[in-house]
């Protein structure tokens, strides 16, 4: 069946398209799927494929000519097919567009915009409903609405005066198209009388953004939902700024070896000492009450990766513990969490949080503050970096620390000073 090749709409904001090339000459045959032409919008380029086998019978837009989406570019039809009806449709549309010498002018784009919202297109189905092949005489039989009643509408097809031609879309399709930002003129209808239906629109919308096949839909429930809710709120409300610093950790390793603990424990001890020097970080923030509350104890949450989502049990009052105490408290807590034996009490009362992604190989990240706290320290992996010594270059182990703070309460300089103190304390950790 003959059809009009139309300027597609590439995205909602496209107003004008330009023909870059015709890949087929007039009177040449095309097969379904062949590239017939190439066009360019304000933002992108697209190939127009033949919708069915046929011959390119007419070309209305030459290379470099511009026209709004939906405008007729040519006609593909059978070699001997009668084109008079399609041409009549196209000519009235073409004359509308070409009446304006410069298609870039406001008038032309307005016409395009009008056409998109022109409800007169809806009148089209009324006049050509008899495509169904049900003869008018049928109306003498058991009464239905497919017969003569439709013919009585008569007159010229109203939609022919718009660049859309006889675009037919159902109300539901229009509603969905408006919602999904899909241009109806570029969709091939599969509904009654080739109308564009809601499912055609859905298909076009999903095709536009790449094919996507749902394999599994997982409910967000339980702990995951809590995480989503808490961290979502934190990310929307707290003003997150992350400052990274690479700190040499040879002393940390030495201290860990000497005490037979993990470097995480040594880092926690350094963090606790740093919090003593910067109590504003050992705190919570209440935006409603407009209060920044500082605490005596260093109740440091340590993020632990478990099935079902990260949990952050709190190691209470690590400021009062020595390194061995921190190590055994952390190990006991870790075991409880991994066995699923932790309680809500284990997760509350935190004043600061440490999250170690370094064990998974990260170089830097932007941890999200655990509300209502005001800062979180991210720990990254250990790397060996060359360091200039008095006479030489040595490779020494380093860790990048990523400190996120809430800029509503603290400033970048505070964070930088915090990291400077952390670097000093870790450097001096052996002397204690």
């Amino acid at each position: 069946m003959a059809y009009v090749v139309r300027m597609p709409k590439l995205g909602v904001e496209m107003e004008i398209g330009k023909v870059i090339a015709w890949h087929v000459d007039v009177a040449d045959a095309v097969s379904e799927g062949d590239v017939v032409a190439e066009i360019e919008s304000e933002k992108s380029v697209a190939e127009i494929e033949a919708r069915e086998d046929g011959v390119l019978r007419r070309v209305y837009l030459d290379v470099d000519q511009k026209a709004p989406p939906g405008a007729p570019m040519g006609i593909v039809a059978g070699a001997d097919e009668d084109l008079s009806e399609l041409e009549a449709t196209v000519e009235s549309a073409v004359s509308d567009v070409s009446a304006d010498d410069d298609p870039d002018s406001d008038d032309a784009t307005d016409a395009a915009a009008d056409a998109l919202t022109d409800d007169s297109a809806e009148a089209a189905p009324v006049t050509d409903v008899d495509e169904s092949g049900e003869p008018a005489a049928q109306s003498a039989g058991a009464g239905t609405t497919d017969g003569a009643a439709d013919g009585s509408a008569g007159g010229e097809p109203v939609a022919a005066t718009t660049p859309e031609g006889t675009l037919k879309a159902t109300p539901k399709a229009k509603h969905r198209a408006a919602k999904l930002g899909v241009d109806l003129a570029t969709i091939e209808g599969t509904g009654v009388h080739d109308s564009v239906t809601a499912s055609d629109v859905e298909r076009a919308a999903s095709a536009g953004s790449g094919k996507r096949t749902v394999e599994e839909t997982r409910d967000i429930s339980g702990r995951r939902r809590t995480i989503a809710e808490r961290l979502g709120r934190s990310y929307r409300e707290a003003v997150h700024v992350t400052v990274d610093r690479e700190i040499e950790v040879e002393t940390v390793f030495a201290a860990a070896a000497a005490a037979d603990v993990s470097i995480t424990d040594v880092i926690l001890e350094g963090v606790s000492e740093t919090l003593s020097a910067h109590p504003a970080f050992n705190a919570t923030f209440d935006a409603d009450a407009e209060t920044h509350t500082l605490y005596e104890e260093h109740n440091v949450g340590v993020a632990v990766d478990v099935d079902g989502g990260v949990v952050t049990p709190v190691l209470p009052d690590i400021g009062s513990m020595d390194l061995a105490g921190i190590a055994s408290a952390r190990e006991a807590m870790r075991t409880r969490v991994l066995n699923g034996e932790f309680t809500p009490g284990d997760l509350s009362g935190g004043t600061f949080t440490v999250s170690n992604l370094g064990v998974f190989g990260s170089d830097a990240f932007t941890p999200i503050i655990n509300p209502p706290e005001v800062a979180i320290l991210g720990v990254n992996r250990v790397t060996e970096c060359p360091v200039r010594t008095d006479r030489d270059i040595e490779f020494r182990r380093h860790v990048t620390f990523s400190l996120t703070f809430d800029h509503r309460v603290l400033d970048g300089a505070d964070a930088a000073r915090f990291l400077t103190t952390l670097e000093d304390r870790l450097d001096g950790i052996l002397e204690e």
Partner: protein
């Protein structure tokens, strides 16, 4: 009756005729103000719906009238206005023209014109429908004429359960109700709740068959035809609603169904122009326009009197095939 409505009830299989008689009889037993009058009602009327009631209740409660619809309905309006509850059998609905003033101007307007001081708890039975080669004056479906009138309720059941439940509600109604019975479905069988408290409220539709792709709003005989057609098209999931009441109309149930399916077929035996089909379609356009995904289809009788010749009558009266074709036109 939808499966849900019947789920928790004890039922028995009854014909539409039995169900109507059961409903009338139960109301006569429950309220001695209820009485029956009409042509040949002492012998059960033209279709034996009230057969046996004269023997059971006697001349005071079941009596014949002269062949004058004007007199029957006029007397009914007067009786109702004085506080008793007449059930007038108009017989063939085509003759409603003879008593149209009594229906439109008296029954429908008395309560309004007396400022609510007078009620008209009158029920008029009107028998309609083609298919019995009874010729043009005994085969029409005129319910759109009556449903159009302010002040009058109109019902047109398609199942035995709806027939009984609506009859009881109609007799109990303080407003005039015209009860349309399609004469070709008196022998249609179906489950009817045995519980005597069972009624169908005026103005409540029911989903007779659930589906997802197309909604058919079908009345009376065409309800059965629509369900048959729905079973025929196994590639399309068809929902069939019986509005049961023509006025008040359960717009919400119909619109909710169309919001789900996006497609609508209206099947009713009244003439297509200016009637029931248009009313249903318009209400759907008002309440569910953005859900429509195909042109709406109507199945009804073309604008012609019902022919006498059987072959011609068959030609104009719609059946399951017509409903099936209408379904196809929406897909």
């Amino acid at each position: 009756m939808s499966a849900e409505e019947l789920a928790d009830r004890q039922t028995e299989t009854r014909t539409v005729r039995d169900a109507l008689r059961d409903g009338i009889r139960e109301e006569m037993l429950a309220d001695d103000r209820v009485f029956v009058m009409g042509q040949d009602e002492e012998d059960g009327g033209s279709f034996e719906v009230t057969a046996g009631l004269h023997d059971e209740f006697g001349f005071d409660r079941v009596r014949n009238t002269p062949i004058s619809e004007a007199a029957q309905v006029g007397a009914g309006v007067g009786a109702a206005a004085t506080g008793i509850r007449p059930l007038v059998n108009l017989s063939f609905s085509d003759f409603i023209g003879v008593c149209f003033d009594q229906v439109m101007n008296q029954a429908g307007k008395l309560r309004y014109m007396f400022g609510g001081a007078s009620n008209v708890p009158l029920t008029i039975r009107a028998i309609e429908g083609a298919g019995l080669n009874a010729a043009a004056q005994h085969s029409g479906t005129v319910h759109s004429l009556v449903a159009h009138l302010p002040g009058i309720k109109a019902v047109a059941p398609g199942t035995p359960a709806a027939a009984k439940g609506l009859m009881k509600s109609a007799i109990r109604s303080e407003d005039p109700v015209v009860f349309f019975e399609n004469k070709t479905i008196y022998e249609r069988r179906g489950p009817v709740p045995t519980d005597e408290a069972f009624t169908v409220p005026l103005g409540e539709a029911t989903v007779e068959r659930a589906g997802d792709d197309v909604t058919i709003v079908a009345t009376q005989r065409l309800l059965g035809e629509a369900i048959a057609a729905a079973s025929d098209v196994d590639d399309v999931s068809v929902e069939v609603l019986d509005p049961r009441s023509l006025y008040p109309l359960d717009t919400e149930a119909i619109a909710d169904s169309v919001k789900k399916t996006g497609r609508l077929v209206v099947a009713d035996e009244s003439p297509l122009s200016y009637g029931f089909h248009a009313e249903i379609v318009t209400r759907v356009l008002e309440d569910a326009f953005w859900s429509l995904d195909a042109p709406v289809q109507r199945v009804g009788v073309p604008d012609t009197p019902i022919p006498f010749a059987p072959s011609q009558e068959d030609e104009v009266v719609p059946d399951a095939d017509d409903v099936r074709r209408a379904i196809r036109r929406t897909i």
